[in-house]
Amino acid sequence: MVKMSFENHIMKQFDDELEEIRTRLMEMGGKVEQQLQHAIRAISEADSKLAEQVIIEDRRVDAMEVDIDEACILIIARRQPAASDLRLVMMVTKAVNDLERIGDEARKIANHAIILSEENEPSVGYPEVRHIANSVTKILANALDAFARFDADAAIRTIEEDKQVDLDYKTALREVVTYMMEDPRSISRAINILWVVRSLERIGDHAKNLCEQIVFVVKGKDIRRR
């Protein structure tokens, strides 16, 4: 079992600062996770209010990104972190970026949820969306979990799971295209579904990036594009 510790610096404030960016990243992760769940629920339950709330809340996610980024810059300027500390700070700056993008994707899904809820038509494509949404939510949860525990093994497992999502995405694409060919009237709706699936797939990719960053922090190895 790998154990990471960011404590026991001679400067206790440094411990506190590292701990702070870590908890704030966790907080932001939790917030983003919640945004995603709400967006998905807005689609499946055609709840446009919930969707609007997701859109409004995204601003808070953006603000959190800016805050954490500033904290990281301050740490770099003041403490000149090295080795694992440096990797953690760099990881956090990248991770907030990924989380912010996940937030953006959730907002897009919410936008489509509003459009879809106005159409009041048969639930074409919902099973596909639900299937991918379940996987992606799980992946994001796993990634954040791996980060909380600095569990590189869990992170690697999560990266493997993302490959399944990519496969599911391709299957869903094919199915939605099939709908469009079968019933040209459903094209506009199907395109919305397509965008939602696409966003979910992007969220999976961002979650995978997050996992790669975790592996980098823990093992010092860059496993991107391998």
Binding site: M4, R87, V218
Partner: protein, 275 residues
């Protein structure tokens, strides 16, 4: 590769240096060096190569033996009573501790710059030409002047002092004094320059100038530098060696040491957890 985080802060008995301590093109090779001060052992079984024209930094907490180790390379430890060096230290394959080797010749080949700027209380000219004079490197005054200018130029000091070569070297600022000491060291054209915390007594600007100078000098000289400042090691060196309690823990390319050190102790030291 053993993961940094899997090791404990305890050092095992038969510690073996991790990382890349050896080189294909070594200037100096050291094998199984043990150094004793009377009964006390200061260096334990250190083996390392110094590559040609590289800058190798030695870091570690106070009393870890990095300065002692540096001083074995030009036998400055000979002057310390009760100091004993075991093991093989070779430069270009020649054993530095061979009985027939003259330390005077060795020190002309391996120059040294010290922690505190220590120009002789003589003129700038005399400071730089002292080495060439005692080693008989120049026959005429013209030759000496040539060496003087060349050395001061290389040390980046010529423009600042060319109008006052006959004024005392001790009248310069701290950073200038240290560059004068570097000029003095390179005046005898050594092959290796040892620097023992050369910037610890200097302000940041003077430090930056010395660091820039080290970068330039590395094109012609092999440089081994001991430093307390990890940032300095990160800035100037190509490889970094980490010493702990007289043992060489890790040697690796500097960029690796400062992003993902291989050994837990190195990690703990450079992240500021002790030292």
């Amino acid at each position: 590769m053993k993961l940094a985080s899997e090791q404990t802060l305890e050092l095992d008995e038969g510690h073996v240096t991790v990382g890349q301590s050896f080189s294909d093109d070594p200037k100096m090779t050291m094998r199984n060096i043990n150094v004793f001060y009377a009964e006390k052992q200061a260096i334990y079984d250190v083996s390392i190569d110094i590559t040609k024209n590289e800058v190798i930094a030695m870091i570690g907490p106070s009393g870890c033996g990095k300065s002692t180790f540096l001083r074995t390379l030009n036998r400055m430890n000979d002057t310390v009573d009760g100091c004993r060096v075991e093991g093989d230290i070779c430069m270009d394959g020649e054993n530095l501790y061979a009985p027939n080797l003259d330390v005077v010749e060795l020190r002309a080949r391996v120059g040294m710059v010290f922690q505190k700027p220590n120009p002789f209380p003589k003129s700038i000219r005399d400071n730089v030409t002292y080495g060439p004079k005692i080693h008989g490197l120049a026959d005429t005054r013209v030759d000496l002047d040539e060496i003087l200018e060349k050395s001061l130029r290389k040390a980046g000091l010529w423009e600042e002092v060319k109008d006052r070569l006959d004024q005392p070297g001790t009248g310069l600022s701290g950073g200038q004094q240290q560059r004068l000491c570097i000029a003095r060291a390179i005046a005898v054209s050594p092959e290796v320059i040892l620097m023992d915390e050369p910037c610890s007594a200097l302000d940041p600007i003077a430090t930056a100038k010395i660091e820039e100078l080290i970068e330039e000098l590395s094109q012609n000289f092999t440089i081994a530098i001991v430093t307390h400042s990890m940032q300095q090691a990160a800035r100037v060196s190509h490889r970094t060696a980490y010493f702990h309690l007289g043992k060489l823990i890790e040697v690796n390319p500097t960029e690796q040491v400062f992003t993902m050190p291989q050994h837990q102790l190195t990690e703990a030291y450079i992240t500021g957890r002790f030292g």
